[in-house]
């Protein structure tokens, strides 16, 4: 009796494990499909505004040169990705590295006429690094194995 029971229990356990693994795959797969998006581009928003209504999300792109204007405490500027442009309205202190022509990520939601941001992050990837070092670091990436 014991060996038979043992085998049966083990079989049940393996079936259970396979079920768990399958659910893990489904759930992670679903998450991965949704999760790639860290921010939306102005093109995505202009072409499909319904998708972005009533939702908080991150808007990413370049601050259009010459679009920055101050209106008391309120800052207005346009974020562009070359093809489309979205107006952004923000009340608060801009980060030090916020510049026209540079990358920006704004968190907020679509308001009437413009994107109302609650938080502004400057994308300062290459800014504080000498270009040559950057190139070397990039080359360095060639030799690192994918971990």
């Amino acid at each position: 009796m014991p060996p038979g029971l043992r085998k049966r229990r083990r079989k049940q356990m393996i079936v259970l494990a396979i079920l768990c693994l399958a659910s893990a795959t489904v759930v992670i797969g679903y998450g991965a499909r949704e999760g790639i998006e860290f921010y939306r581009s102005p093109t995505q928003i202009t072409q499909n505004p319904e998708l972005s209504r009533d939702e908080t999300f991150r808007l990413g792109g370049l601050v259009e040169s010459g679009s920055l204007e101050f209106d008391g405490p309120v800052v207005r500027f346009s974020v562009t990705d070359g093809a489309h442009t979205v107006m952004v309205e923000y009340e608060g202190i801009l980060p030090d590295l916020f510049r026209e022509g540079q990358g920006v990520v704004a968190l907020g939601s679509l308001g009437p006429g413009s994107f109302v941001a609650t938080q502004i992050l400057a994308k300062h990837d290459e800014n504080y690094m000498p270009k040559e070092v950057m190139d070397i670091l990039k080359a360095e990436g060639v030799y690192r194995p994918p971990e």
Binding site: R9, I18, L21, A24, F57
Partner: protein, 218 residues
């Protein structure tokens, strides 16, 4: 298997200390952090998700050693392994019992304690959910490492060094659920990853732990 699970839960409840102790530990964390950080809601609120999650993680660590220790001392574990249940089933039952006796009380206590840390209402709504989805992974990871360090006297320190790095993904996604909820974003994605981690741990770690148990009890 179910009988073993019930027995473990009953034993833990009868002694009662494990569940109460871990909740008390979480309370201690919640009390000490504001004393270090300062009482202002605006400084506590942003770190509240991290404090709760790290507190839950550390509190579950406390009772890990007990998963196998008592049964090993009494020789019950040897009998169990020799008995009709395969070791991975025993391991899974043990992890389940640990979750019921430690994870569940922590999940019930967390929303109350979160109020003290000024966790925002948006994040608070998701707190219990993220803990329910995430803590099984912690119990399974802990159970596996407890099986590894079963015979080591005073293995508690090594156990925590082994468990905490493995819990990093759980912590990251668990906190991210709350952070996203706080910012008004949809927390579904990290929640999915969190569930994935729990499923993955539940599927694989009992077998690894079963192997470790057999190696330890040869």
């Amino acid at each position: 298997m179910f009988a073993l699970y019930c027995r473990d839960v009953r034993l833990a409840l009868r002694s009662g200390s494990a569940s109460a102790l871990s909740v008390a530990f979480l309370l201690t964390v919640v009390v000490t952090v504001p004393l270090g950080v300062g009482p202002e809601p605006q400084s506590l609120s942003p770190i509240a998700p991290a404090i709760i999650w790290i507190g839950v993680l550390l509190a579950s660590l406390l009772s890990l050693e007990r998963i196998f220790f008592q049964d090993h001392e009494d020789g019950i574990l040897d009998a169990l392994i020799a008995g009709p249940l395969p070791p991975e089933v025993i391991a899974a039952a043990k992890a389940g019992a640990h979750w019921t006796t430690t994870g569940l009380p922590l999940i019930l206590a967390a929303p109350v304690l979160a109020w003290f840390l000024h966790l925002s209402a948006e994040a608070w709504r998701w707190l219990v959910f993220s803990l329910v989805v995430g803590t099984p992974a912690v119990s399974f990871i802990g159970m596996f490492n407890a099986a590894l360090t079963l015979r080591i006297r005073r293995g508690g320190l090594l156990l925590s060094i082994l468990v905490l790095p493995m819990c990093i993904p759980t912590l990251v996604f668990g906190v991210d659920v709350l952070t996203r909820a706080e910012l008004g974003q949809s927390p579904v994605v990290p929640l999915m990853f969190l569930a994935g981690l729990s499923f993955l741990s539940a599927a694989t770690l009992p077998f690894a732990a079963g192997y470790a148990l057999r190696a330890n009890l040869d």
